[in-house]
Symmetry: none
Subunit: 251 residues, 2 copies
DNA sequence: AATAAAATGATTGATTTTGATTGAAAGTGA
DNA sequence: TCACTTTCAATCAAAATCAATCATTTTATT
């Protein structure tokens, strides 16, 4: 049976059953469990299913909030692919910072570890994190209209009292010499402080952000690892790679 | 059976039975009591059920967004009547604190003044306030599962740096001699600090809260003005009136 | 056909989940 | 109050499942 054919049957099977074990799927498709596991991992990366211990479950995609969805939807899948990979970096018991923004929100459904501690400055994030049963801390600050990002000196000073294993930031501009940039200086301060408090930092950005320079500098390229999607040109990749680690996620 | 599958069946079983013992659930799902206990603890963390000694009980989902027609005067619930009157107390350009909780949320649709500045510790409040285009500040803290209240020492210390014209608090118990009380000590601290920072404080409570005493003390009766609905008995009204101002809203 | 690339299934040691056990805590009834 | 029963959280070993690896088979390319 062809791989794509098997994938289709797995999805069909799941649509009927809601959930299924690896063993069940193996019997239906007459493939080994190894193969099924590989399939399930691929399908999960494409956000078509949700992987659970022992099998897989359907993923119900819910409608996005209207205030946040004004941004062009063409990068949506890339965004989700990046978010999934980023979430996979998180280890059991980590303390992580989740920056406000649409990309980092996508990470939340994939945070399943109950021993995780998350700090965030994104209001939409908090509600989703609580639904997941994750221990969540919120920084102080002024709520920015539209995005729901908490900003200002209070946000920065709250952050100074926390320390993170990992920090995940959204970013508007990534440039070989100008580094990481974002339009709002207040948001830049928050991002900078979060980066400061973290052992390791990951910047999540789709291909459209490369070569762009926004108003406010956040940090130099070398201060974080970049996670991006596969639509990056070889030229861009090469330029960036000289300064920092860049992880390209197949989309 | 997969864990997610078992969780789903437990929820379904509970929806029919309202309550169930660990043993019952174990029989239905053919899992050991140890496993069921682990399941119930996880589901409780996600606020999907309520854990009780010996088993679990359904948790009634929070009320959905009131439609516009429900906001029209003739359908006003007591809670909404109180909230509307409370909102009317706010003057142009005031700086106010809105406590977390379902009653204070109801105030938000009635806050129309754009020159208002609101500080809150309720996550659901923030989203609604932003939709209204109101300048909103959020305190730091740990997000409490279910209610979305921000609590803890960080919340208290953030509040110390603000000063309010008016402060609106929800409350679980109002008692002539025991004063204002609420179940969670952490929440009590936050309420107490908010009261401390404010020129004038209003406690919003429906009739069912009178005579009740919860675990944690917040303040003495005289520290705030009470706003309540018309279902209050003459006896209760008289008792309270000796200590503080009480404003009864016709419902 | 020869070679390279990709997919598969089996195996391994590591991780996660599970069910049984235990002493502690909570509830029950005299 | 006191015994007695039930339920609980913590712990541990067994079972199930996992990711990683590797040899083999299948498919694609030249």
């Amino acid at each position: 049976m062809l791989t794509v054919e098997r994938h289709a049957r797995i999805l069909e099977f799941l649509k009927q059953k809601e959930t299924a074990t690896v063993k069940e799927i193996g019997e239906v498709t007459k493939a080994s469990e190894s193969t099924i596991r590989r399939d399930l991992n691929e399908l999960e990366k494409k956000q078509q299913i949700k992987r659970v211990h022992g099998g897989a479950a359907l993923v119900h995609q819910k409608s996005q909030e209207p205030t946040l969805s004004e941004k062009s939807p063409q990068y949506k899948t890339a965004k989700q692919a990046i978010a999934t990979s980023a979430a996979a970096l998180i280890d059991k018991g980590d303390t992580v910072f989740l920056d406000a923004g649409t990309t980092t929100v996508e990470m939340i459904p994939w945070l399943t570890d109950q021993s995780l501690v998350v700090v965030t400055n994104g209001i939409p994030h908090v509600q989703k994190l609580m639904e997941q049963g994750i221990e969540t801390y919120v920084v102080a600050g002024k709520a920015k209209q539209g995005t729901g990002a908490l900003i200002g000196t209070k946000a920065v000073s709250t952050l100074q009292e926390y320390h993170f294993d990992k920090c995940f930031l959204g970013m508007n501009g990534i440039h070989a010499s100008q580094g990481y940039t974002t339009p709002d200086p207040e948001e830049a301060s928050v991002k900078r402080q979060a980066l400061e408090q973290s052992q390791s930092t990951y910047v999540l950005a789709d291909a459209s952000k490369f070569g762009e320079v926004s108003f406010s500098s956040v940090a130099a390229l070398s201060d974080a690892t970049i996670m991006t999607s596969g639509e990056l040109s070889a030229q861009q990749h090469k330029e960036i790679k000289q300064s920092t680690t860049i992880k390209v996620v197949p989309s």
